[in-house]
Symmetry: C3
Subunit: 333 residues, 3 copies
């Protein structure tokens, strides 16, 4: 195990490990991990078979193995993959899938039952197209991608390698583009693409619209949780984390390494700078500078928002104090 | 009818009832109900064929039947079931469904067109698996369940009896679990289960993630509306009501009998106590005590939130009063 | 081109147009448009092949064609349709679709792979039913509709003509109707319809419930973005615009020509008057008068909300001023 995760071994390296457990619950045949020194105490009184931990972090006395690694949680992730290998679908294209003759499938592409792949779609080697999912005419999907049950990849989509698309997620749907005429709103054809970078992972039941003119873009390695909506021509940078139920309106640009908490919303045509963070439920109505941490509605610098929220809690008291002062000035008290 | 709902009959029990209608709209061949004395007046001037009502509630003079029951709305629900029996899918497994030989289907399980049931899945007697839905390898579904069109029940799921899963709902998808490494965020394998209790009903297009390590749990009889997200390792108690578009982040525990209004959000690792209520749009950033009613952003006791909101509306006035006081003190007024 | 869009031509009408581009990016063989005089400057220094613009709007000097039209954006929409005709599915019913013998399909209805159309469903001429979508027993769909991948149209639905239903959208699902009994919440059968007017367009992964008793109604020409939830018996008027992630609880009535911004929520049994607007993230807890613009949580007149928000930002300062006054009155300063 030490070899597998590239760890320096301390203590008893002879235990047989049969499973994984959180720190505190791990028994003699479990491997666990301690990400931060602050939680090392959870191991007190337990006898884990092995613990993944950084160099220099002190642990309570243990009988099992101590595996010193640079990133305990990342090492633990690899151990989990070892103990719980992902179930792979059967090789080949399922007999019930409808794959157009002019679709191009790379080596070892696996296509589940009832999937539909239209003409001119291209799917890279090793990708899996789940049951009941749809890949539209002309869509491009890279290598090692995983499209889950019931997802829609419309023809305007270009996905990089190792992209994960959650169940029921809709990529490249036509956005909310209308022009108001005397006969009612009329759709403006949406003709841009939906471009998803390498190693992007997207949760379930999301909706990411295609660009109107120009593209909607999600940068490489960005992770998107479930029920997220990205409007047309939104651009998300690389390495962002976007939590569930976030909604971003059309043409807003989100920089690299941005973190958006759950249910955050942003109106259209804004810029959220590189490395910015918006706390859960933040409502972004103005640009957010790079590196800033914002929160609240309207979203503003987090410290100011905290101060103002604390002040709001004091408002009833403020009002009584104000009345008292006025009465004193009027000579009534 | 009196017999069917277990009612004590007053008045004319000979009318033929041909339909149902809300109080006020009910005609001579309709049955209706009065849940609370406060709405009894709606019957004034109408001639309903029959009225379901509690003992002791006074009604205006009526010619039709008065059916005294303990729970008028519940009795009315049974009457609706009588007049509008649920359309049942055809018996058996549809020829286009793909059911693995090693899946185990109980008596009278009905499987719709294009459904997919993988190896080792177990589905209890009388359950219905809707068209285009997916039941993954090893999933367990109890008796009398109803899985609607296009839903996903991944292999890590364990559903009790009489569970309803709405169309497009995703149970047991991998949650938002990543560890940040120098090469970008890396997925932590999610290996826990998604456990849904007896008689839970879930609306459409929800996403309930599997546990990371350990389980995500929804307690018996809890009802969940549409577009709700529950993160990994969330635990929901029994008999909760969770309205549409609620989002609950990972590892938060919700007690028994909790009511969460529409668009409520809760961050992770919190506890919402038994019997607590959070009003629509409440943003829960801290624990909510058992029995409390919270509202607002951040969610706090509802009365305090109301008082503070009222105070906010007076803020512009407060600012003018403050300026006036300062001017008086400075001798300017 | 001038003829196609009904424009009055100024300048050089001999250029060959090969594509479309936004103002500012358009080259000699592109057509573009200028919706408002304020953005005409974007054309400075460019040489677009043709520009769609209103009569009377001054443009910088241009060598290409100037096409004077009444609604430049609407004309541009028509040009986009010309340059990017919508890909049409193949004629007929796909061999893998399951269409009941007693379903009635009009002329040139096209049904994609793995779609399911149940008995008694009626689908009007020229409508397209996408792959993997579901049309329940008895549903009525008008002419020229477009049902996208994986959508559910339950049997209680009545759709007008030219309705667009986005991928994964659920129309007519049973709403959140329960009655609480000593044995837990019990479903009240939902027996109303879900009625969608002509030319309504709905985005992806929405959930619009059927009425409980009586109908849920969306008026003609209303446009609904993605991930929107409408509860049972909600009534939306004609010509509304409802942006992504909006949620409206049961029995609320929205008038004609209403605009609801992203993530707006409304509790049940309210009225939002004709022509009202609620800004993004507004939380509607009370009726909104016709023609009003509301915002905030709770939603209130937008100007008041702006004033109050500005006042909140001054709260920490207000508290210090208040303390200073008290100290002055106490003779401490």
């Amino acid at each position: 195990m030490a070899e597998f995760v590239g760890a320096r071994l301390e203590g008893d390296g002879d235990r047989v490990l049969r499973g994984v457990a959180p720190a505190g619950d791990a028994g003699p045949d479990h491997i666990t991990f301690v990400e931060r020194a602050a939680v090392a105490g959870r191991l007190t009184g337990t006898d884990p078979g092995a613990v993944l931990v950084r160099e220099g972090v002190d642990l309570p006395p243990l009988d099992g193995a101590i595996l010193r690694v640079e990133h305990p949680e990342a090492a633990f992730a690899r151990v989990l993959e070892l103990f719980y290998p992902r179930a792979e679908p059967e090789p080949g294209v399922h007999a019930t899938a409808v794959v157009d003759d002019e679709a191009v499938l790379g080596d070892d592409v696996r296509v589940g039952p009832h999937a539909v792949i239209e003409r001119g779609a291209r799917i890279g080697a090793g990708s899996r197209v789940g049951p009941g999912s749809f890949v539209g005419a002309g869509a491009e999907i890279g290598e090692g991608c995983r499209i889950q049950h019931g997802a829609s990849i419309f023809g305007c989509c270009v996905l990089g390698d190792r992209v994960v698309v959650g169940p029921g997620t809709r990529l490249g749907n036509e956005g909310f583009g209308f022009t108001v005429t005397p006969e009612g709103a009329r759709r403006i054809p949406q003709v841009g693409r939906c471009v998803i970078g390498d190693a992007v992972e997207i949760g379930g039941n999301c909706t990411i619209d295609r660009g109107s003119i120009g593209d909607t873009i999600v940068g490489a390695r960005t992770k998107i949780d479930s029920l997220v909506h990205l409007g047309h021509n939104v651009e998300i940078g690389e390495d962002c984390m976007i939590v569930a139920q976030v909604g971003i309106a059309g043409s807003t640009r989100v920089g690299r390494g941005v973190a958006l908490g759950g249910q955050v919303g942003a109106i259209g045509h804004l810029t959220i700078g590189d490395g910015a963070r918006v706390a859960a439920r933040g409502a972004v109505f103005k640009d957010v500078p790079a590196g800033a941490t914002y929160s609240g509605n309207p979203a503003r610098p987090h410290r100011a928002a905290l101060r103002e929220t604390a002040a709001i809690f004091r408002l009833p008291d403020i009002i009584s104090r104000l009345g008292r002062i006025e009465r004193r000035l009027d000579g009534e008290e």
